[in-house]
Symmetry: C2
């Protein structure tokens, strides 16, 4: 299939995604829309997109779009996605799918009502090594799963009006990067039965850090951390009764991982695909799903996005992280 996509927003993540689209044979970007026409034109030129627009509404009128990739600030995801879905344009929407579970349920209802594809762009889920991780676990290589430790932290440049720091844009560590460790825990363990969480409030009133301990059925535990204050190791460990998997730093990019079996030193490494930034895999999943007439992805189904945002809501409730849209 030829994917002729469009983009809402053209920030850093949109640039990275567009880079990767160029590596997919037959795929291309036909249009980009953002509020600044200058930025849209710059972006369109960089990625050979015929149309640069300064209105999201105008983008919906572009003919022949196979899908729209939404890379606007978190607070706009629900509104943007529902606009697209109501126009029956398939949507790949950046994570978090929306600000809270109310918004996500509206988006999924819209996808269903319009019989139109919707998927959360949680790119880590589509990196080839994560399938290796899941296969190793399913094959019983590390025995029964026991716990997950994962963090994501980097020292963000402080900018009170930036995406990471402005509460009006949905800033904060949890929704932007804490979502990765939470995603991994839910992917492996399902729905948490008990959550402890706390946040460090920053000067702009978003969470600078979030510390989480999730308890799952069978006493499985996830110890998770996110911060935009400091460069932490950003590693993940999946512990089982017979061994553990170490996803090396920075783990969400799945650059490499190793399998450690108890009482032996067997270690496997899986290197990163150097031909792309890693966003290609989620784009290919979108292409395949749309080609097959699906409204959701089996790898990142609507139910999982619902579980993810509901868990983030529960963590936020415990940690006192509140947004005006709540």
């Amino acid at each position: 299939m030829l994917l002729t996509g469009a983009l809402f927003g053209c920030g850093r993540i949109a640039h990275k995604f567009a880079d990767d689209i160029q590596t997919i044979p037959g795929a291309g970007i036909s249009a980009v829309a953002t509020r600044s026409l200058q930025k849209a034109r710059f972006f369109a030129k960089a990625y050979n997109a015929p149309k640069a627009l300064d209105s999201y509404e105008a983008l919906l009128g572009v003919k022949g779009l196979d899908a729209i990739y939404i890379a606007t600030p978190h607070v706009l995801h629900a509104e943007n996605a529902i606009m697209c879905l109501n126009t029956k344009i398939p949507v790949l929407c950046e994570k978090p799918l929306a600000m809270n579970s109310r918004e996500v349920s509206q988006m999924i209802a819209s996808a269903e009502a319009n019989n139109t594809f919707l998927m959360e762009a949680l790119w880590t889920r589509f990196m080839p090594p994560i399938n290796k991780v899941l296969k190793l676990i399913a094959a019983g290589e590390i025995g029964e799963l026991i716990s997950v430790n994962a963090d994501f932290g980097f020292a963000a440049n402080f900018n009170p009006e930036g995406l990471l720091f402005d509460p009006a844009l949905g800033g904060g560590s949890l929704l932007d990067i804490g979502i990765y460790p939470v995603f991994l825990a839910l992917l492996l363990f399902g729905k948490p039965e008990h959550i402890e969480a706390s946040a460090i409030p920053g000067s702009t009133n978003v969470d600078s850090s979030c510390d989480m301990r999730l308890k799952f059925p069978g006493d499985k535990i996830a110890l998770l951390h996110s911060t935009i204050l400091s460069d932490t190791k950003t590693e993940a460990f999946i512990f089982g009764s017979k061994g553990h998997i170490h996803i090396h730093s920075r783990w969400h990019e799945m650059t490499s991982l190793s399998l450690h079996l108890n009482e032996t030193d067997e270690v496997w490494h899986f290197d990163k695909d150097e031909s792309c930034r890693g966003y290609r895999f989620e784009a290919e999943e979108v292409m395949t799903c749309i080609e097959n007439g699906k409204i959701g992805s089996d790898a990142m189904p609507h139910d999982f996005s619902t579980l993810l945002i509901e868990t983030l809501d529960r963590i936020r409730h415990k940690a006192g992280i509140i947004y005006s849209v709540d």
Copy 2:
């Protein structure tokens, strides 16, 4: 003062400690005792100790000992320390001071009854950079303290009869290395009011990993982790309302640390003292305390060792880590 000390045990930690004793002017090791006379002789020769003995009882009869350093397996600490204290020989005892709070209270009672010095050899407490950390915090540099994240993990070589793996010797990650992150949290926040913890049991029935979340008065949080399964980051972060302190890997050795103030990039580094392994500082504290006729150290007082072991007991209770001495 001239410290003429003796050692109980001559394993890896004893070698490191003895190395550092050589760097203190006027200090020396006059005797070493361990169950293998061959090992004792090897050790004594390496560190110019006149006496090598294969019985702890015989060591107590050596004349002119200023102090005994106890580096036997954890399960022997209480018995060894009380032997020394009852002979009125001052004691520096490796961490954990003993297996549980019952044993620690017996040791402290013995120190008091014999008016003889006792201190837990938690060397990190005596590294010069930790005083810098405490001064920065006391000066309000990072504002009000909010949370601590610290871990300690390394891939231990599996040996079912080794100190780390044999439950009869007090093996497991928590008591051996998890004690460091717990120590840091208690040093900064005092007594935890609520503890969540879980452990990964290993094939020898000691905890391979321990995940902890400690809640302190004022909603201060410590997210802590220990493991003997994998080389983790082994970093510590102390977060405050105005900034944070990052103690770099491996943090318990205090190789360097940096101060990060919110919204600025000011960073300070404190390099390790290369002239010693870092055990010299605790030895010097012992010398000063004994010289001043104290029975405990102000930096690592009996009350703190009591709080530490009581907290470890509480963590073990939550995580289901049980020893035969309990």
